[in-house]
Symmetry: C2
Subunit: 206 residues, 2 copies
Amino acid sequence: MFVPVVLGIDPGVSRCGYGVVGAEGSALSARACGVIRTPPGDPLPDRLAALQVELEGLLTEFRPVAVAVERVFFQTNVRTAMSVGQASGLALAAAARAGIPVCQYTPNEVKQAVAGYGAADKAQVQAMVARLLHLSEVPKPPDAADALALAICHLSAGRFRAAAGQKLSDGGAGGGSGFTSSAPLPGLARAIAAATARGTGKKERS
Amino acid sequence: MFVPVVLGIDPGVSRCGYGVVGAEGSALSARACGVIRTPPGDPLPDRLAALQVELEGLLTEFRPVAVAVERVFFQTNVRTAMSVGQASGLALAAAARAGIPVCQYTPNEVKQAVAGYGAADKAQVQAMVARLLHLSEVPKPPDAADALALAICHLSAGRFRAAAGQKLSDGGAGGGSGFTSSAPLPGLARAIAAATARGTGKKERS
């Protein structure tokens, strides 16, 4: 059975988090997550080139139906903004060149989608990521958990279903899969609400 | 005769300036310049992908021995910094992946190198670009002139010669070309000083 996956990217040059989430109906699962690091001592162009190669590798390996990249508006300084911009530019361009739909989400949108409210703190979001993905502990490092949260955010946003429907119809595969509406995944909002109601710190019962 | 060229890039998503400068001894010449524009109405990922394709095309077409990209530290806002970061990241990564040495220069370094002092205004720098490249008028649009200035800056910085020497020895071509030292191009500093002394607004006599 074809299980569509979404790739989340938390962009950065020194540390770029990625997370791959599969959606079988409304059941989510973590397929992979981690952090791409580039050596701080290397020249910046070489680091960016290495990052780009790794990002392209993720697209080739997991063939996501969509990519979700963190959109950062506010940074403590312009230097950080430049660096995040460089990494996010590579991610956005790589997805577009591979013909994969790509969306950006602000940290607040991710918190809202995953934890149910935009003012949630990092620990709450990470605990929710573990719960929604039926993981026994919070994924580490934090960049990887943040990337998984981005993928979950995209799945909950409903754009995924539109994108997946487009991909399936483009490829001529599997009619009647249900991936044709732009509504959120059925049950996911309910799962998020239920998991939120159970409070932070408890594990998902599965 | 092999005339090495340097590609200057003034990065931006809406408008990305490029300029190709050839150096035959100390005589500089403009080989090409222009602006890559991406439609503001298109999705950002598509615009970045299109920009990346164009940048790769410039590297393939002109095979520069080095690339010079503007380094921007200060921006009026973080949104602009993100956008410049995205474009510069694509330029830096494209050059590194093509195996071409790439350097970044701040606007002040460019002004210092081309006009002789870091506080020069845009019009003075552009007039100097026209003079040094023996052009009858200032290249338009300004992004293209800025990109040519970046290439001239790199040529005057001397790193070019080291890079060109490396490329020549890597490729096994043309020993004894003199591209082995890291000193600035002979005569270029003198040419800049002489052109500066003639003042703004006069054309280069050729």
